[in-house]
């Protein structure tokens, strides 16, 4: 390049890497931000640091084993993966599960949403340097964590759903305890809603930051609170209800939380109000829970079938695609986690904002890397990409190591 062709930019353009290891990220991911002074002019999103080949492992497991594997996909929304896989297997077996089991499964999903959203709120407070609210909100998250431990025996990996129902029943004593807990939780959430909206230092950091306009959100197929924060009506609980969401939506007492702001503030408000709505939903589920058995026997060999199970995870629409082949193992199992959809809009959100806003914009979609990552081999020379299965990867890596012996 000749010197005449060089464009001198003042302030100079610097590429700042955020990740793979960075205090703002709880899991590995790489974001190359090109900044001019404090302004982000370009952003490149690069994920794929956390491949665990869960889908491939799942093909060698029985469906029952896969339930527990599925809940380990993600630590925060473990109930959604676990429940959605059970739901997918039941769809494939064309089995109907008892009403009470449906209610308990839905209750676990909603409790999971409450704890996930409070966790997100704490992380969002932390990303803008508001550590006090972070500490306090995580303290109050313990209420719902205790509830989950009370009814499932575990704080994180509840594993409540099983094929044909749920594993544990809810007693009347537990119901009373939970209803008391919900009152406390609702009061605290109203407080955090007011903190988020009225605390100027927090609001100024999220107001108008990371704009994602509705047409772009639609084009990049944003799901969950990210889409709803931009005014898209995407919520599987309302659009395509399953389990106990069907009777719940028939009452008409609940409505989809939407915001047409389109910025991080919109997503924050959607999440906070959705938490309060989820508390009301859980209360409704507990009060209207029918009596009866909690589990239906389903034969372990599932007939050949191809199903798509949809569920609204805390982060958005979660899809489990399952192909069964008449044995007790899946033929193909594909998980499409909501974060995967939301990545696409990330570069657009980052562009044009301040470097200081990058952590909160990244956090605003509530990313879950371990849900998302797949192996993609990118050839550096001709920039082609191809997806590789685990077996081929193993063969290729053995070949590579044979060709490139360790230097002595």
């Amino acid at each position: 390049m000749t010197s005449a062709g060089k464009r001198i930019v003042i302030p100079p353009r610097v590429t700042i890497p955020i990740g793979p290891q960075h205090p703002a990220l709880k899991e590995p991911g790489m974001f190359k931000l090109t900044v001019e002074g404090e302004h982000i002019v370009d952003a490149v999103v690069n994920i794929g640091y956390n491949h665990r080949s869960i889908e491939k492992i799942g093909e060698n497991n029985t469906h029952l084993q896969n339930l527990y594997l599925a809940s380990r996909i993600c630590g925060i929304c473990s109930a959604t993966h676990n429940g959605n896989y059970a739901q997918a297997v039941e769809f494939a077996a064309e089995a109907e599960i008892p009403e009470r089991a449906k209610f308990i499964r839905t209750l676990i999903w909603e409790l999971d949403r409450i704890h996930s959203h409070i966790l997100w709120l704490g992380v969002a407070f932390h990303e803008v340097g508001f550590d006090t609210a972070f500490m306090l909100s995580w303290r109050d998250r313990e209420i719902v964590m205790d509830m989950l431990e009370n009814i499932s025996g575990n704080r994180i990996h509840h594993d409540m759903s099983t094929i044909g129902g749920v594993r544990r029943n809810i007693s009347d004593v537990q119901k009373e305890q939970m209803l008391r807990g919900f009152d406390k939780l609702e009061e605290r959430m109203a407080f955090y809603r007011d903190v988020a909206i009225h605390e100027k230092t927090f609001w100024n950091r999220v107001d108008g930051v990371g704009m994602l306009e509705a047409p772009i959100a639609k084009k990049t197929s944003a799901v969950g609170p990210t889409g709803r924060g931009s005014g898209l009506k995407v919520d599987v609980r309302f659009n395509d209800p399953t389990q106990a969401y069907i009777p719940m939506m028939d009452t008409g007492d609940f409505e989809m939380i939407l915001s047409d702001r389109g910025d991080v503030a919109g997503r924050a408000v959607v999440r906070v109000i959705e938490t309060i709505e989820a508390i009301n939903m859980s209360r409704w589920l507990l009060n209207n829970m029918p009596d009866g058995p909690i589990r239906e026997r389903v034969r372990p060999r599932i007939q050949p079938n191809e199903v798509l199970a949809r569920h609204e995870a805390p982060r958005g629409e979660l899809i489990h695609y399952l192909v069964t082949n008449g044995t007790n193992k899946p033929d193909r199992w594909k998980v499409r986690a909501p974060t995967y959809n939301n990545w696409t809009s990330m570069a657009h959100c980052l562009r044009g904002d301040y470097l200081a806003d990058a952590p909160i914009i990244l956090a605003a979609i509530d990313p879950c890397y371990s849900c998302t990552d797949r192996v993609v081999i990118v050839d550096g020379n001709d920039e082609t990409m191809r997806l590789v299965s685990l077996d081929n990867l193993r063969i290729e890596s053995n070949k590579w190591h044979k060709e490139h012996p360790r230097r002595e």
Binding site: V14, T15, I16, H22, P23, A24, V35, G37, E38, F125, H126, E127, V128, G129, F130, D131, T132, A133, M135, L136, R139, E199, T201, F202, N204, R205, Y354, L355, A356, D357, A358, P359
Partner: protein, 363 residues
């Protein structure tokens, strides 16, 4: 006529003052103690416990942190300017220690009235402001010396932050100097305590401005953009490790001692507490006793520590109550709000001194 023995004793006493009390050792002790109070108060405001295990309620934790950092591996990046990089922590520590030596903690010069610091001369207020600006320049250079992108961003932010808040800080310090008509810290402290209580009304606004600017000067939340750990990973400090980081941390703590001490000296009446009670027993006899006897050394120190600790708690409360601002918001707030407020404050003080106080008959 001084004998060699007298000279030796005087020299020893001065050395002791500089190195032990109220010099380097005492200031370091205060720095670690203030860090503990700050951490503990911050944690309690957040419904946490804070340091708990080392010593009584974790009181030795700052010392442990310091000692442990001293033993850690000390790395210098290849791209860094080695000599300048190594000089930064030393320069920062020296600057902060020299600043802290001006604090009027105990009476170092019984010949003159009032409480003097170890160093004290006419015009030292200007010199202190110069030192604090020099500190800011060192911080800005520290980031550039480390040749790290996070460090350079942090330095640019520090520069913008300090340029914005040095001015209200200086303007706030002008008020007490203006009331007394002196630029010597010890004289300002001494004379302020003699003024009529009506002057308190003139000191409230500069006090608020100074405390806010001090928070910005110390780079604490909501002004800690320059080492926001989730954005630029501690900014200009990112490449410092081991001994260098320990010294930088100590220097920052000493700046905290210095900042809180300045508030105490200029706005909270310095090392006097019981003397303000308007009963002759306290205001005359007790004050006279304390000013001449060695008991004053203990009493003045304790009062100074008590008042500084109150300031520290106010500062940690500020740290607790806010989220971190963005740099553009801070600069806008500084130039649109703080600087005009500081100038208006000066105008108000002038109006009050020239027109209102004579009418009210305040002496």
């Amino acid at each position: 006529m001084q004998t060699p023995l007298d000279v030796t004793i005087q020299l020893l006493a001065q050395t002791l003052a500089v190195f032990v009390f109220p010099g380097i050792l005492f200031i370091t002790f205060l720095a670690l103690l203030w860090q503990w109070i700050d951490r503990k108060a911050h944690a309690r405001f957040q419904n946490r416990f804070g340091p708990l295990h080392t010593g009584w309620r974790g009181i030795l934790q700052p010392l442990m942190d310091f000692l442990k950092l001293l033993g850690k591996e000390d790395l210098t990046p290849k791209a860094a300017d080695r000599k300048s990089f190594a000089a930064v922590p030393v320069v920062m520590l020296v600057l902060s220690l020299v600043s802290a030596m001006f604090l009027p903690i105990v009476d170092m010069d019984p010949g003159t009235s009032g409480v003097q610091g170890i160093l004290s001369f006419e015009g030292d207020l200007v010199f202190l402001l110069f030192l604090s600006t020099l500190m800011a320049v060192t911080i800005v250079l520290a980031g550039y010396f480390s040749s790290n992108r996070y460090g350079q961003t942090g330095s640019a932010r520090t520069g913008m932050l300090l340029i914005s808040f040095e001015i209200p800080l200086i303007l706030a310090l002008v008020t007490p100097a203006l009331l007394i008509g002196s630029l010597r810290l010890s004289i300002i402290t001494h004379e302020l305590s003699k003024l009529s209580p009506a002057y308190i009304w003139l000191m409230i606004l500069p006090f608020i401005i100074y405390v806010i600017s001090l928070q910005a000067e110390l780079e604490r939340i909501p002004f800690d953009v320059s080492h926001a750990e989730v954005e630029i990973v501690h900014g200009w400090q990112v490449e410092f490790s081991g001994k260098k980081l320990a010294m930088i941390n100590l220097a920052e703590d000493i700046m905290l001692v210095f900042g809180a001490g300045m508030v105490t000296a200029l706005f909270l009446g310095g090392p006097l507490l019981l003397e303000f009670i308007p009963i002759p027993l306290f205001s005359v006899e007790f004050a006279g006793f304390m000013a001449t006897e060695w008991v004053g050394w203990v009493y003045y120190t304790l009062v100074f520590m008590f008042k500084s600790a109150l300031v520290i708690i106010v500062l940690s409360n500020m740290r607790t109550a806010f989220a971190r601002w963005r740099i553009d918001q801070i600069v806008r707030a500084a130039w649109k709000f703080m600087v005009p407020l500081a100038i208006i404050n000066l105008v108000l003080v002038q109006i009050a001194l020239t027109y209102i106080f004579p009418i009210l008959g305040v002496v």
